[in-house]
Each structure stands twice: as C-alpha cells, then as structure tokens.
Symmetry: D2
Subunit: 283 residues, 4 copies
C-alpha cells in the first residue's frame, strides 16, 4: 500500500473538506501537529471546511474546540454539520406549528432560527391537543432524553400522527474514550424506523445532500470546480464513498477508524477506493 504525503496532495486542490473525528481529533483530544497543516493551507491559499455528522452541538460550539486548541483559523463559518441540513428542511418545508425533537437543549439550537415552537420529546403529552400541532419530529442527539420512556413515546406519537421524521446524524456510534464507543442517534433512528415501519429522512455523510450543501456553501463566493475540491476522511463508508459519488477526489487517512493494518483489506472487501491514502494530515 503506497502512502502519499498529505501536503503534496493538498497543493493540487483549491478547497478541502475535512471530516472531524479521526482526522482532526480523537478520543484524546486534538491530533498533535495538525496546527502546522492549517498554517500550510493558509500559506498556500487553500480553503478548507469541516464536514461533520455531528448535530449535537452548534457550529459555534464545535469551532470553540479548535480555537481552544490553538487553531484559530477554524471559525464557526468553517463548520458544516448535518444539523444544518435539518434546519434547511424546516426552512423549506415547515411553515408553522410545532417541531418535536429528540436530543439535548443544546442540539435544539439548530432549530431555533426558525419561527417555530420547538418541544423536546420529554415534554410531549400524547393525550394533549398540542400533539396535533406537531409538524415534524427531528432526531438530533442520543443525549437529553430518557431512552426507554421517550423512545416508546416517539413510537406511539408516530403511530398516531403522520409527521415526517428527520434524522440529523446518520452515524451508528461515536467514540467516547480510547476503547469505548456510544450508540449514536443514527442507530436509534433506525430502531424507530423499523418499529414503526415508516421511511425517515436521513441527513449526513455519505448522503449526497450533505456534500451538495457543503459544495454550495463554499461556491457562494468562489467558483470552485469539483476537480478542485478534496474530501479527507478516516471512514470508507461515509467520507470516501460519499466524496467519490459526489464527484470529488478523496483521501483516506489512517489516523482514525481505518487502522493501517486493515486499510488494504477493507478497501478490497468494500470496493470503496480512495484516490489517495495518507498516514494522517500531518504528513
């Protein structure tokens, strides 16, 4: 397996999408030395954005982590999260009524900009008339509610009223320490979807809508061709297949989910082939 130098590759592009977890940070915090990479990008006038399936925190909160870790260039306008697509959905398709959500109050910030009343699932009373005003159920985070009580409530809400369900994070799990993961809201959404037999709307990598949203975001001011944009990620099934399908070049980094020993095996068995492989973005 041939490993490329990330910097050498980066120089061929005008804009880069970075996955966050496994590329910029891991369970121990920021990945060491990546600040130099961002300096390098700046020097070479290469634009960049963070593309993340995290809908549990606002772009502002997400950016603060990098700021605190000495990467001043990662400001909130550099963050593109799947939570932002939930907001887009509301903007286009929900004009009035109540928005029920599953997640923390902090995750509900994605819904706040709208002129809509947001209600956490825990505060919904299935027998109250307000239930009829619910226009959509949005799944944002695995925290902030009582799994047993509130997921059962969500099931019965969806059996009674026919509202669309938006899932703002398609991930199955997320890491919580070096050797432990937690079940993410994407998995919980699949459980509900199967139980109620309905089709939910899922936002997040590898879905094309996430890449398209990001692409439109960056081409608002600069007219980048797809050939000038690079996706960098640690996960074949989200970052790499999503980037490939969208028509941009892709780099698999081995600093996260895909460990060096198994990279070749996974590429061969999944049929998901990155354009480049790098040890990390610090190379």
């Amino acid at each position: 397996m041939y490993l490329d130098s990330f910097r050498k590759i980066a120089l061929k592009y005008r804009a880069i999408f970075f996955d966050a977890y496994g590329v910029l940070k891991n369970s121990s915090g920021i990945i060491p030395e990546i600040a130099h990479t961002f300096d390098f990008l700046k020097e070479n006038n290469i634009d960049f954005y963070i593309l993340t399936n995290d809908a549990s925190r606002s772009p502002k909160q997400l950016a603060e982590f990098y700021q605190k870790n000495g990467i001043a260039d990662i400001t909130m306008d550099k963050i593109i999260s799947s939570g932002m697509l939930a907001r887009e959905y509301l903007r286009h398709k929900v004009k009035d009524g109540r928005v029920a959500y599953i997640g923390t109050k902090s995750s509900a910030v994605y819904l706040e900009a709208m002129d809509l009343v947001t209600v956490p699932i825990s505060e919904i009373d299935l027998n109250h008339r307000h239930t009829e005003e619910i226009r959509v159920l949005i799944m944002l985070d695995d925290e902030g509610f009582d799994w047993q009580k509130d997921l059962n409530k969500a099931v019965n809400l969806l059996r009674r009223t026919n509202v669309p369900v938006i899932v703002a994070n398609t991930d199955q799990t997320y890491p919580v320490s070096e050797d432990e993961v937690a079940i993410a809201v994407g998995s919980i959404a699949e459980l509900l979807e199967k139980v109620v037999g309905k089709t939910f709307i899922h936002f997040g990598k590898p879905d094309a809508q996430m890449f398209n949203f990001a692409y439109q975001h960056i081409t608002r001011h600069n007219n980048y061709h797809k050939e000038e944009v690079l996706m960098v990620g640690d996960t074949l099934h989200t970052d790499i297949i999503g980037g490939n399908k969208f028509g941009i070049d892709t780099v698999l980094v081995l600093s996260g989910n895909t460990i060096p020993d198994q990279a070749e095996f996974f590429i061969k068995t999944t049929g998901i082939v990155p354009d480049y492989i790098c040890e990390s973005i610090t190379t």
Copy 2:
C-alpha cells in the same frame, strides 16, 4: 374472504398450538368466551399448548393469568415460551462461567435452573476481572435495566469479549394498551446487532427451532403426526409463516394484529397464506 368456524376446524386435529396475544388475550385482558372453547377441546380430547415469544415471565407466571381468568386447564406445563429455548441453549452449550443478561430479575428465572452464575447487565463492571468469565449474553426483556447506560455497556462488552448473544424474544413490539405499544427486546437486539456488527442467535416464532421444540415437547408422550397438529395465531409473519414452514396446518384469527378489513390485502401482499381464517377461536 371465507370465514371458517374454529370448532369445526379444531375437530380435524389432535393437538393445537395457540399464540397468546391476540388469540387468547388482548390489552383489555382475557378475550371473552374463550373458556368455552377450552371446554370444547377437553370434551373432544384435543390437546393444546400455548406458544409464546414472551421471555419476560416464567411459564408459571404466564399460566397464572389464565388460571385467574377461569381457564383452569391452562397449567404451566401447557406453556411453551421462547425463554425456554434460551435455557436449552445454556444446557447444551454453556458448561461453566457467568451468564450476563438484559431483562428483569423475573425474566432471569429462565436461566436459574442451570449451575451457572447469572449477572444482570446493570451489575457488570467492564473493568472488573469477572467480565472475562462471562460466557454468553442473554436478552430476555425490555424492562429491568437502564436503556441508555446498559445498552451502551452491552455494546462495549461485545466489542471487548467475543461471547455469543442469545435473544429470547424476536418480537418487535408488544401492546400495552388499546392504542399503545412498547418496543420489545427483539427490536433492541437488532439495534445492538447492527451496532456491533455481530450475528446474534434469535429464538422465537417464526423460527423453526421454536416450533420444533414445541413439537418435541408434545410428542414426548403422544406420537402426533404433523398432519394432526394445528397452529392458531393472529400474526402472518410469526405464527402463520412459521407453522406453514414447519409443515403443520395454520389458522389466522382476526381477533388481534390482523384486522378483518385488511386480512385479505395482507395475505395477498405478503404471500403468507393460512390454511384457514376464523374471526376468533370462539366461533
């Protein structure tokens, strides 16, 4: 759609398997008038058993419900539950060590007969050396544990140790009132299975092992041919397809999951065809 008289059909068989929920009881309690049907079976010397995907209570507890409701003939030896298959598995495949379980203490009765130490998931400490002695994880019930904390613990347990997981109830939901359901342990098991990427062992209708276990149970004393045994249930995807595949005749009753208006439509779209259709077992 032609509806048969249940009694007329019953007379053609020597033994009958009844599903419990939707056939003998519903969210309001025992289905009225079924006591007469059991009298009729007795008079005509037709044997019967209850085949249920309920692993949350012991056969003794399950039988008590019928006893209290005036059907003295439904004794604990008439109950065949999917929880009994979990016990069978332990008997054949687990000789020593600890059995971790997800469910209530009451459901753990299925594991008690063995000379094994049983540990509820809530009491497992992933960092304690006892974890290494766990030989199997058994999923029995959706109650008796903290969903968020303990399901995440189960995920990390299964990432660290390679033990088989037994699911003693394959149902997706169960009814809790006339218009509400609850998520059953079968759905929770599928969530874990997907998240950890492993293959669990599932017991319960429509799986052939459940029907075979029941058939062996009843032929211990009487040599029934399969042609002499009838399966009666309210659910096409468990009772009817399972009975058909096992090679016994099947009756769909319309007193539960499958409502009269949609019976024909569901039979046509699923391709699961019962041998007979009856309004209920009281006809």
Copy 3:
C-alpha cells in the same frame, strides 16, 4: 382524502419536475389529454422538466416519444435522466482506461461523450490483459446481455479487480404491459452488490444527487428558489420522499403506481406525505 386540481397548484410555482411513467405515460402509451396541460404551462410561463430513472435510452430517444405523441414542447433538453449522472461521474472521476457496462449498446450512449473506451460486459474476457485497464463498471439496463453468463462474469470481475460500480437506475421493476412488469437493473444491481459484498454507487430518485443535478440544470439560466419548484410523481418511495427531502413541494398523482383506493393507506403506513394529491395532471 382531499383531491386538488393540478392546474390550480401549478400556478403557484415557476418550475415543475415531472416523473415520466405513471404521470405522462403508462403501458398503453401517452396518458390522454396531458398535451393540454403542457399548453397550460406554456401559457402561464411555467417551466418544466422530466425527471426519470431511465438510463436505457438517451434524452433524445426519450424526447422523441413525446414529440411523436404531439407534445412538441418536450424536447431533449427537457429530459433529466439518471443515466446523465453516470456520465457526470465518469467526467469527474475517470480520466482514462476502459469502462465496462451492463446494458444495451443504445444505453451506452450515456458513456460515449467521454474520451474513454466502452466495453459491454459480454465482450469482456476475464483472462485477457485488457481486464486490468477497466476503471469502472456501469449498470445501465436490464437488456442487452445474457443474464446468467454475464452476471456471473460481473461477479468474478468484481472479485478480481477493485473497481467502483455505478448503478444508473435504482428502480426495482418497470411496467411492460397493463398487468406485467419486468425486473429493472436496480434489482439486478442489488443482487450483485449482495453477492460480492461491496458497496455500489446508485444514481436515481429518491437520491438527493438526482434532484440536485436537476435543480442545478434548471438554475443555470433562471434563479429559481426551492420554494418555486414542484415535484410531481406517482410513487411515494422515489418521487415524493426524494422531493420532500430535497426541500421542494410535492404532488402525488393517482394515475400510476399509487392507486386511488390505497393512496391514504400507503401515505399513512409509509409516513411519506405529499404536499398535494391530484387524480392526474390533467385536472
């Protein structure tokens, strides 16, 4: 179920996406009277496009059908087919080498514009050195190859070489007469995907990339907001969920797949809710 007048709805939008089959044509040919609807759109200065998962014929061939049936306004530039996305993929991601395809020579027109050598699956010899030059396998149509011989060849090709597979039509079946359907290439692709265990790239409704491609196509000359665009289709699982997710309004017509008697039932059980329901586009 309240049925809207299509014309009344149309007047609220500036551009309309029409699904083809079940909306404009059916197994008997063009749906009667729809020519008047296109006159109406012209008079009212409402733009329109045909959004189809058909990759078996070129936009030119697809347009000819409408031309022959007296709808002169449906010209080839009005056709947006999933086959065009396969061409986009090649344009962005494949620079040289050979493109293997499954489908008719006629469907291969989608690949022709490129400076690439195209080879039908039937002409591939797994033991020839040319096989190493294959960069991608594209599935276009269910016709034009020997299913048994060539699908087995595709399986063994994908076991030997690690090339991406592009599926240019996600449909499961298509109608061939009033009461018969044929297996579409989307189903065949899923068979191969399961057998080789790899992840293919699928293009076509309901995928966001199809809607995005269409939206970019129409906004090249006119700056339509999403609120000004309407999707009209006969299938909940492709046209309606796809349009809803993309953030545009949707009309379900009852002139195709979704028959009037079952429309309400299907909307309720799938949770896919169109903004409007019309008998057909002639109302």
Copy 4:
C-alpha cells in the same frame, strides 16, 4: 489461534455432520487423504452424515461422487440435503395440483416422489388455465432455465397468484473453479423476494429446520443426545452458527471458505465462535 487435531475431537462424539464443500471436496475434487478419516470413523464406530445446501442433485447423485473417489462408506442414505426439506414441505402441505419449479430436470427429482404434477418454469404459460392449478413455486437450482425470461415470468406469476415460494438452497454463491464462483439459487430467490415484496420459505443451513431434520433422521435408529453430535464445516455463517444455535458442538475447518490467515479476524468480527478449529478433517 490454537489448532486441534480433528481425530482427537471426533473421538468425543458418537455422530458427526459434515458440510460437503470446503470440508470433503473443493474445486479440484475430493480433498486428499480424507478417505483415511472415514476409515478412522468406522474403526471407532462413529456415525456420520453429509449436511449440504445442495438441491441441484439427488442424494444418489451426490453420493456417487464420493463412491467414485474411493469413499465407499458415503452412501446415499448418508446424504441430507436441503432439497429433501422441499419434499417434506410438499408432503405435509400440498395435497394436489401442480408444482412449478425453477431448476434443472435433475433437481426436480426432489419433487418426484409425490403424487403431484411438476412443471418447470420454462413450460408455464401465464395465460393458460393450468396456471390456476399451481399450488407452490419451488426454487431448486440456478441452472436449467433462461434467467431473464423465466425470472421475469416468475415475478409475474407471483403477482397474479398467491402461492408460497419454497427456496431449497439458501447459499449465495458456489465455487466453480479455483478462483471463480457462480451465483447460487439462494441469491436469485432474494432478488425475486425483494421484487415481489413477499416472504418466501427458505430451507438450508444455518436454518434450524435443516439441523432438526438431520437430527431426527439420525435418531430414528439411535438415540443420540445433542451432546454426542458434532457439526464440522468451513463457513461461520452457515455451519457454525447453525450448529451452535441447534445446541450441538461445532468444528471450523480451514480447508475451504475460511482461510487460516483470516479465521481469527472473522470469528472476532462476526461473534460466531466454533468450539474447535482444525486445519482440515485429515489432521
């Protein structure tokens, strides 16, 4: 990974189930030296049976292969194939009418014993009145019919008439040479099942009905406890999980599908744990 001696293990059991492909034979023919193993079993009075998902040839034809290769003890009564379960189904559930089948004439031998008219899918005319007499469709083999023409015919047959579909081989692929496989009828059945949206009845490992059929077959004359029976196979997802679930001990051999280098990795990632691992049955 500790490798056991197969003979040492065998001595602990009274009866052994052998998978055929990857255990007794491979693409080059019989696996060398296994005749000695069968001599060893005979000397030690250990009974054995071949458990195979092959429904394309009769037990007699399957046994002939071993006879020709010098293993006289593998007679036709030692063969237990998934095709035999299809025959059992007919025996119990189909009393009259026509049986349509997909497969070769040779595979139809499984249906012959019955007093039923068997019709290959190729000879069915959907518009003939005989179609109404079809009681079941049985899928036996991937050979003997025109895939494109006859699979489309099967789809339309199943849309018109509501007959159960029996799949007599659940395998996805089978090897045809050292480095090529062919799509098996199990994969084809899944394609049809998805296209018509119906639930088929599948027979074959890992399904419990196959193990139960085999177990009843061998206990007809000898009263073996499950603890006295051993399953030997090369595939975790069929032989090993099936044997484990049925409650018998299991041996994974590394002479077929599961190659030595990856055995530990696959056991760990699938969670399917054999009781023993042997290089082959000749050890």
